[in-house]
């Protein structure tokens, strides 16, 4: 663990002043359809930003390009100053990037604990270890901590396929917070949650360590504007407006397009 911590520390010191995320001219085509067109976006380290926009605005495509699930058609992606445009997803994750998925992508055949343990293992060494973790295993301990943080302690032995929808969403967040993330992409983490679960989620997000920046896609303005300090509005694959939550909320164009647009 110390070796790992020092590599993170050296990376942070090497890239300390760089922006967490820098997108330049990012474009993604699906055939003739431009899902993203010339996206320029800069997120400072520790900054928390909400991305808003109606369905089909390109928000999830943006996430998929940043994590490397899809390669961009054009443009560059810099993560903490490093050009990761052509890196495979796992290399980006090992550099401190994390994400959650709009539709939970979990390991249905494994228990909650094993799911979180895998997430912790994925960003540390000995991923190929053939030896079972010992009882005092540090990663197992951090997995237990994460399970507690997302209020799943009672379900830690349950198969993920048997969890309720809300619990799966909570687990989705836990997986993204494993192993000292530096920058997280949350894709509609509150979708389908009950009001109580939403409050818990907002609490988890606002209590994240201050160096941990994130981008959150969220339709629920209560959640989005409470946890974010800046807002990016997307429309038809382009960035439409950027600003503080209050500015965005009161912006007439935004209201016409999105808030009052009868989406639902």
């Amino acid at each position: 663990m110390t070796a790992r911590a020092s590599t993170v520390a050296s990376r942070i010191s090497a890239t300390g002043t760089a922006n967490a995320l820098e997108l330049r001219g990012l474009t993604r085509m699906f055939g003739a359809l431009a899902a993203l067109t010339d996206i320029n976006l800069t997120v400072r380290p520790g900054e928390r930003r909400a991305v808003l926009g109606s369905n089909g605005a390109g928000k999830t495509t943006l996430f998929n390009c940043i994590t490397g699930d899809f390669p961009p058609t054009a443009g560059t992606i810099r993560l903490f100053g490093e050009d990761v445009t052509h890196f495979p997803p796992h290399e980006r994750i090992r550099r401190g990037l994390r994400r959650t998925y709009q539709i939970s992508l979990l390991f249905a055949g494994l228990s909650v604990r094993d799911n979180v343990y895998l997430a912790c293992r994925g960003v540390s060494r000995y991923r190929f270890s053939l030896l079972r973790p010992r009882r005092d295993d540090a990663l197992m301990a951090s997995a237990e901590g994460l399970i507690e943080a997302v209020h799943l302690s009672d379900a830690r032995e349950t198969l993920v396929g048997d969890l309720s929808y809300g619990q799966q969403r909570q687990l989705e967040v836990a997986l993204a917070l494993a192993g000292a993330p530096r920058f997280v992409l949350f894709d509609e983490p509150a979708a389908g949650l009950s009001p109580t679960e939403r409050r818990e989620l907002v609490e988890i997000l606002t209590n994240l360590p201050s160096h941990m920046g994130f981008i959150i896609i969220e339709h629920d303005m209560d959640v989005a504007l409470r946890v974010a300090e800046s807002v990016t509005m997307m429309h038809n694959g382009r960035i439409f407006k950027e600003g503080k939550p209050a500015e965005i909320e009161s912006d007439a164009e935004v209201q016409a397009l999105y808030l009052g647009g009868g989406h639902g």
Binding site: H90, I93, Y101, L105, F107, G109, P133
Partner: protein, 367 residues
């Protein structure tokens, strides 16, 4: 393997709480009984049963286990495992000694066996590296293509593989003054390796590598998003499975004292798939159950058929019918039937609902 496939049966292993107390206490009595029977078998059974039935069952079970490891935990149905076993058998014949003295190098066993395993594992790894970029039916196709290529290559190459006739007179070493081709020693030799590989798979299932492999099966995209190199993980699984198949291949060659292209022909390749599927892919005990059924059927089907006045060479018909019946009633093989039966015992006969006392806690699969 869809994500949703793992609702019920996978629970046999997934839901089990980690054993507390010493590991010996966690072993169920049925396993003790089975272990005792297997150890004392030479006192109960004759040489034919020990050598032909059980020896062969353990060997085929191991090759089936290597497929089960890839298919059950990794979601990759590989038809190349029999070829890996065949490669190991060929290599032990080529580097060690056989009746074909012009080709065999005559190395001592402590060199020829490790080299044979290494080459077979390299072969399994390369085959895996070719196969892992495909999914589902295409994995089956590409591994079948590799298996066929191996079959035809060994049949046509006379310089190394001695073509159609292959190698005979491939004998195990006379280690510790024991003739390991005698029924009792061979029984214990195969039992030892079968149990060892079975326990190894059980152990690795809960180790980071095994957990990650199951993660790759359930959701490769998410595994990438957790920092795992999914391709490397899949290839490593092929290497690990190849170790088991390679050991089994050497034992298989020693059992019949020969290896020829037909050993790893398309027929045997399919037989391994049948063994693993009939037994069940959810638990490592499955392939051994499947292998026992296969061996018993293929050994005695001739007698049954001729007894019924039918042609004895139709024994594959009986195997095929058995396969159809089991798969028809349970897509999860014999293990699936067993779990269904257990579940129906737990269910309340009136309401059809789970009585609940056993749920989520200590369900034990097969062994």
């Amino acid at each position: 393997m869809a994500v949703t496939d793992h609702g019920t049966g996978q629970g046999a292993e997934g839901r089990r709480a980690p054993a507390h107390g010493t590991w010996i206490e966690s072993i169920p009595p049925a396993v003790w009984a089975l272990g005792a029977v297997l150890l004392l078998m030479p006192a109960l059974a004759n040489d034919f049963v020990l050598y032909q039935i059980f020896g062969w069952t353990f060997i085929l079970g191991m090759i089936g286990l290597s497929l089960m490891f890839l298919a059950g935990y990794g979601g990759m149905v590989s038809l190349v495992q029999m070829s890996v076993a065949g490669m190991a058998g060929y290599m032990v014949a080529i580097f060690g000694s056989s009746a074909i003295e012009t080709i065999s190098l005559g190395w001592p066993w402590y060199l020829s066996v490790p080299v044979a395993i290494l080459i077979a594992v390299a072969f399994g790894t390369v085959a895996g590296a070719l196969a892992v970029r495909t999914e589902g039916i295409y994995t089956i196709m590409i591994t079948l293509a590799i298996a066929s290529a191996f079959f035809y290559f060994t049949r046509q190459n006379y310089v190394i593989f001695n073509g159609f006739s292959g190698f005979n007179g491939v004998l195990p070493p006379q280690l510790f003054g024991v003739d390991w081709r005698q029924a009792v020693p061979f029984y214990y030799l195969t039992l030892f390796w079968a149990v060892l590989s079975y326990l190894a798979v059980l152990y690795v299932r809960r180790a980071p590598f095994g957990l990650a492999l199951q993660g790759v099966r359930d959701n490769p995209r998410r595994m990438r998003a957790l920092g795992f190199n999914v391709t490397a993980h899949r290839i490593a699984a092929y290497s690990l499975a190849a170790v088991i198949a390679a050991i089994a291949g050497i034992l298989l060659t020693w059992q019949s004292a020969q290896i020829s292209p037909g050993t790893a022909g398309v027929g045997p390749v399919i037989d391994i798939l049948i063994i693993a599927v009939v037994g069940g892919l959810r638990h490592p005990i499955g392939p051994f159950i499947g292998a026992l059924i296969y061996v018993v059927l293929s050994t005695f089907a001739i007698d049954i058929l001729t007894g019924l006045g039918l042609a004895g060479e139709r024994f594959r018909l009986l195997i095929g019918l058995g396969f159809l019946v089991i798969v028809f009633f349970s897509p999860d093989g014999v293990l699936g039937l067993w779990e269904k039966w257990r579940a129906s015992g737990r269910r309340d006969p009136l309401t059809g609902e789970d009585r609940g006392e056993d749920r989520g806690g200590n369900r034990e699969g097969g062994a």
